[in-house]
Amino acid sequence: MDAMLLTSQLINGLVLGFLFVLIAVGLSIIFGMLGIVNFAHGAFFALGAYVAWTLKPYVGGVGVLFLAPLVVFGIGLVAERLLLRPLYNKEPLLGLLLTFGLALFIEEAIRTIWGSIGHPYDAPAFLSGFIHYGPVFVTQYRLAVLTVTIVVLIAVWFFLEKTRFGRIIRAGSRDGEMVNMLGVNLSRVFMLVFGLGTALAGMAGVLAAPLWSVVPSISEQAIMPAFVVVTIGGLGSLRGAIVSGLLVGVSVAMTIQFWPAASGAVMYLLMVAVLLVRPRGLFGETWERFE
């Protein structure tokens, strides 16, 4: 076993990890701010990929990166307004059931609209090469995904931590009644947060489309890693999602190197191990609302 190959796998795992982070970040935000476990996250991810496939001939591979998440954002707003809003002060289980139903509904809608067989989707031509330098063997497209993920993470962090709007969201998620009394229309804020979370899922879908097959089951391929990453990182923690996404990426790559048959199970084992030691996940916070 040469060190060169191991280094390659390590780097590849980190790059893969960024894809996991991107898939998980929207789920993390929706949970962190609204307290809803969004089972339909994978379905919004799939919608992103499919909408991108439809729009790509008109606006190109880069254009869809902005347009498709926008469409998913719109769908997310509608879903929040019509379905989720009545459930905020009820049992958390109801939100879970509802989003689970929504996931099935969206997947079936995708089958009806786009058919059950897959659609070809290639990376934009200018990103079709790869970089091979020493142990580094990475495709340009994966580097682009990495770059977009970092930009998105910085933007989300800035939005939540440094803007007035972000402060309202954070305050509202902790003590909604108080924020309401201060004259803020909190239901509109929550609607936007849900839309933002789904848009991020959509964006992950767009970016994953050239890597994965665009088939209706793409939603299932996204939802499990998203949940695992968020659980390991600590529910609602942005920092946790980043650390655990990278951790999962590297673990998967290393398992493929040494024991490939277990590569599907390794992220779950990692999750079990982390939860045994830290039941709230790596960076999980204490939440008054759920205590």
């Binding site: 994965w212 998967v252 590569s263 599907g264």
Partner: protein, 352 residues
């Protein structure tokens, strides 16, 4: 159903009614099979893609004495260890697909790398191909198992690249194969390392796209090529007219499964299952492929020629991906030469 149309929708003045249920997971498939047998009182059942689902319903076929023609499942044991008198199988076992494509691959070299799905079908396929390779003095440079539903193959591809094999043989199918082809292409390897697999479902390649598709594969049927008979071309045309796209190979398998059942009912003039089975065991079906095809009596495997299909250099449209290199076995060899013989098989129908 196009096969029913071929028969004018009726047999001896009695209308043919098709009752159609879904196949999703062994348990529901079992329930649906029960429904077909007990409530709908069907004469015979045909279809099925997943080996797990089919292995779950085969005992029901046997218990209720209902002929079951499995069209799309590949597990060896369907016509091997788990074979029974009421089950017939159209699709090819791994024994046959590996022997179909091996001669075309071995000319690239003897050092191979394998990536196989870690369940019965993939592992069995790996064993079959490794057996052939070993027998001819080849070498396995690496063999990785991958969980079903793997979305990212980049780490596997890095391992393959580090070994520089002459041939990369895949035991994966469905969207896993599509994912693999896309990522393999992005890493600049398309055309550099020859690729083949246990199976080539058209839809997996359509989903991968023209740029990413590559390799030589065993195939049961293809809608283009000289090997097609008039009947098989007519089917392709009727399918195109009805669905607006050409038929993938599974469509032909389902078409043949239904045709076989209807032929049996028509020729025997009966719906009695023993008569139907007797007919299916002894009839030679003409016109579906150039050489007559038949269900072998002792294991109920459909004995038919296979294709070596190569992904075209330039793909003319959204569907026409494959060029047929050859038909296997060669015309001077018996069809059964690419199927396991009785001594290699675990099917003992009388014992089951």
């Amino acid at each position: 159903m196009l096969a029913v149309q071929d028969f004018g929708g009726q047999i001896d003045g009695r209308p043919v009614k098709v009752i159609w249920y879904d196949e999703n997971g062994p348990q529901t498939t079992q329930q649906n099979m029960q429904k077909l047998v007990e409530q709908d009182h069907v004469v015979g059942v045909t279809g099925g893609i997943s080996s797990g689902d089919m292995l779950a319903v085969m005992p029901i076929a046997k218990r209720s004495q209902t002929p079951l023609i499995v069209t799309g499942a590949n597990a060896t044991q369907i016509t091997g260890a788990d074979c029974n008198r009421y089950t017939f199988r159209v699709d090819l076992p791994n024994y046959t697909t590996t022997r179909t494509v091996y001669p075309s691959l071995t000319k690239h070299g003897k050092n191979w790398y394998f990536i196989s799905a870690s369940y019965a079908w993939g592992i069995d396929g790996y064993k079959q191909m490794k057996g052939l390779l070993d027998a001819h003095g080849g070498k396995v440079l690496g063999a990785d198992k991958t969980p079903l539903g793997t979305s990212d193959f980049s780490s596997y591809i890095l391992k393959v690249v580090s070994k520089q094999p002459d041939v990369l043989f895949l035991g994966i199918g469905g969207s896993d194969l599509t994912n693999f082809l896309k990522q393999f292409h992005q890493m600049g390897l398309t055309g550099k390392i020859p690729v083949s697999a246990l199976v080539a479902n058209d839809t997996d390649f359509w989903a991968a796209g023209k740029e990413d598709a590559t390799g030589v594969y065993p195939k049961i049927w293809n809608y283009t090529g000289d090997q097609n008979t008039a009947k098989s071309l007519a089917f392709a045309k009727a399918f195109q007219n009805k669905f607006g796209k050409p038929p993938e190979s599974e469509a032909w398998q389902d078409y043949f499964g239904m045709s076989a059942l209807l032929t049996a009912i028509k020729q025997t003039g009966s719906t009695d299952s023993n008569k139907l089975i007797n007919f299916l065991e002894n009839h030679k079906f003409e016109g579906y492929k150039k050489r007559p095809i038949y269900f072998r009596k002792w294991d109920h495997q459909l004995i038919q020629s296979t294709l070596v299909a190569k992904v075209r250099k330039s793909i003319p449209d959204r569907y026409n991906y494959f060029k047929i290199d050859s038909v296997q076995p060669a015309a001077n060899k018996p069809l059964e030469s690419i199927y396991p013989d009785q001594s290699e098989s675990n099917c003992h129908m009388n014992a089951n």
